[in-house]
């Protein structure tokens, strides 16, 4: 498999390079109403064994951003610009067939709706075996089967060996999502891209799926790039968070940075929507800007309570590093402004901080 991928020899060996690096990603679509810029210059990285969450409302461009990584966007009408490096290779310079082999093997996807992602004419066992065989051509039937059952067992399908020959419709929604995860993991990927994997599921099942992803990550040492609108999900699983709004990154940082000291007005409001935090009723007034015609200045300005004139001209404020890798794109953090206006009230953040450091085992 690897032979077919052009190797950037100088950097392939460089162990300090992250698993996935996305730089200046810009994805646009040609539409009747003009060019729609869904993702407008976004950078992020995913390290081995790390979970990065991209958070945003629907329409923020988060799904397009992840689908651009493996070229799942139809081109045209889509158009992807920017640098995407994965495992030392540049994904942007690959041909479609090379990309396809990366997509099924080293980077795998799971989607929101397991219903639609499965072939209902074949047994789930057959589908997983198929995935294994595509990945590894020398495998014998018996081995492939054993691996498939083992995988089903590991993703928590009870009585896996007997259910191997069941058809998708014989499983519940949560079980289907588990099977999708099994299918995504049989090829032992380095990166798993999960797009709203729990949104279509009952709350009871949501937590279990997240738990499962967490456990499997420890076991397989893969990177996870999770896309969701639900910060509650993020708190359960993320190591680092990228908050997106209208195609731009608003804030990024570790999960503790974001939850303890949310520094961007948008992040603060998103957090306030969460039940069990903030008021949970009220939401964010206003709506996302028209993606074919983004406002000047800060994209969030039309809905931001703190917006000043400077927010409405020029382009999105530069990302300012607050501390470590916590950075935020808001004018109040640039020179000449009083950042305490938009900083989270410190009493709350200290109140939340506990002596005991959370240890991620």
């Amino acid at each position: 498999m690897t032979e077919s991928i052009p190797t950037d020899s100088a950097q392939a060996e460089d162990s300090t390079e992250p698993l996935l690096t996305v730089e200046g990603l810009r994805t646009k679509f040609a539409t009747d109403a003009g060019s729609l810029v869904a993702v407008d210059g976004v950078d992020f990285t995913v390290e081995k064994g790390e979970t990065v969450c991209i958070v945003g409302e629907s329409g923020s461009g988060k799904t397009v951003a992840t689908e651009s990584i493996t070229g799942l966007i139809d081109q045209p009408p889509g158009m992807i610009e920017g640098k995407i490096r994965f495992n030392g290779h540049s994904l942007t310079s690959m041909t479609e067939s090379e990309l396809r082999s990366v997509r099924g093997n080293e980077i795998t996807h799971i989607f929101q709706n397991p219903q639609e992602a499965m072939n209902h004419c074949y047994t789930v066992g057959w589908q997983i075996v198929e995935a294994i065989k595509i990945h590894d051509e020398d495998v014998t039937d018996a081995e492939a089967k054993a691996r498939a059952v083992d995988m089903l067992d590991r993703v928590g399908i009870d009585n896996a060996s007997s259910r191997f020959t069941d058809y998708p419709h014989e499983f519940s929604g949560g079980q289907k999502q588990r099977i999708m995860i099994a299918m995504a993991l049989v090829t032992d990927p380095d990166l798993l891209i999960a797009d709203e994997p729990t949104t279509a599921l009952d709350v009871t099942v949501q937590g279990q799926i997240l738990q499962l992803l967490n456990d499997l990550q420890d076991e397989f040492e893969m990177g996870i790039l999770l896309v969701t609108h639900d910060l509650g999900v993020v708190a359960q699983i993320a190591d680092r968070i990228v908050v997106m709004y209208a195609g731009k990154v608003m804030e990024r940082g570790s999960v503790f940075d974001i939850f303890d000291t949310p520094s961007h007005p948008y992040t603060q409001q998103l957090l306030d929507c969460l039940p069990g935090r903030g008021s949970a009723v009220g939401g964010i007034p206003g709506k996302l800007p028209d993606p074919t015609n983004h406002p000047d200045g800060c994209r969030f300005a039309p809905r931001c309570a703190h917006a000043v004139d400077a927010c409405k001209t020029g382009s999105q404020p530069e990302e300012i590093t607050i501390e470590g890798d916590h950075s935020v794109s808001c004018v109040y953090y640039t020179a000449g402004y009083d950042r305490s206006v938009v900083e989270p009230p410190s009493s709350e953040s200290t109140g939340k901080k506990t002596e005991v450091e959370y240890s991620d085992d």
């Binding site: 409302e57 089967k145 060996s161 007997s162 009952d202 709350v203 009871t204 738990q211 509650g232 949970a280």
Partner: protein
Amino acid sequence: MTEPLLSVRDLQKHYPIKKGWLNRQVGAARAVDGISFDIQEGETLGIVGESGCGKSTAATSIVRLEEPTAGEVIFNGSGRGGASRNADGTHPNDVTRFDRRELKRFRRDVQMIFQDPSSSFDPRMPIGDTVAEMLIVHGMNDKHRRRAIVEDLLERVGLSGSDYDRYPHEFSGGQKQRIALARALVLNPSLIVADEPVSALDVSVKAEILGLIRDLQAEFDLSLLFISHDMSVIREICDRVAVMYLGEIVEIGDTETVFADPQHPYTEALLSAIPVPDPRSRTEQIELTGTVPSPTNPPSGCRFHTRCHRVIQPDGTDIDQESWRGLLNLRDSIAADEVDIEQIRELAQASEPEVTVETQIRSEFGIASLADSVLDSAVTEAIEQLAADRQAVAAETLAEVVWTPCEKREPPETTHSDGHVSRCLLYEHDQPETVAADD
């Protein structure tokens, strides 16, 4: 205590299952199987449960979108209050007995909001007309007055009057749910039944809509029956909550009480599933294993016993709870002939290093070895029988020694405090001696 606005008594909705040429009825799916609760004026009651537990069917049966199979739905709102039972025991306000005219009157008093904003509007009708249609149906022929009312209402739910002529596809999901609220409100009902009104929405939009519902409720003194699978939403909006499992209410009480002190393992499991928006408390949630039963053939005794993580061990048995659950799962799987021994054998041989069939099965069910020797040898024997292709014998072997009180006896209703009732054998003895009889 004042008369409740709505009181549901022993409501049932069974769907007949028909087979064969002559459409003979061979059974019934008991989607709702005898639920009772009250809603007071201005109160919000939540019904929570997993998909398939019958909560939506309960909603549609109460408003008579579907005809309930049995039971009473007594609606005392809008000047119907104070009625007493007829001589034959029926109630004049029983919705299930309303005739056409009474039902039409009832439609003005109870309205509904649906889950899916994308399908709850006629794609070919301007949304203003959709809302105004409610008025036409009830006889308001004055076109200009209809328009004025609807425009005013659209403004109250946070849209603008000029949206009247726009079509559903021009609105976002959150805006559509606002319009749905307008449609539910336009006849000025006293009760609104909301079936998962926010579960298809983004978190931020969800919060907006919940806020709006709450404001409107206060302004127009509405009662609400709020159906959701999401405990965290229930906590935000409901005064009381009823937890439904497989067609039955297993626990009901004040939201705060139920959240603070759940008296049923299923409620515990639901509560543990609420994501905590705090990265420091990544709690382990309770995982329910075992088979999800079908409403056509509900389990005996406590309906939750096939999945309950706290399922009771009989006197004399004392093994760790997880193995106990695994053991019951194994028993149920063998009894249902779901263990495919051929597959397992093949698999056991293929695995690295090769293992016996028994080890394979034991590991799949999480019962590597059991502290109780009687049970352990029963497992060994059952697996041997199974390997010899004698599934019935294997099932019997296990059934003899593995049983739980939970499947023998239906748990009675236990009152824990005023209005807090649950049905679980574990909590049966908690019954306070006397419940303070306050009026």
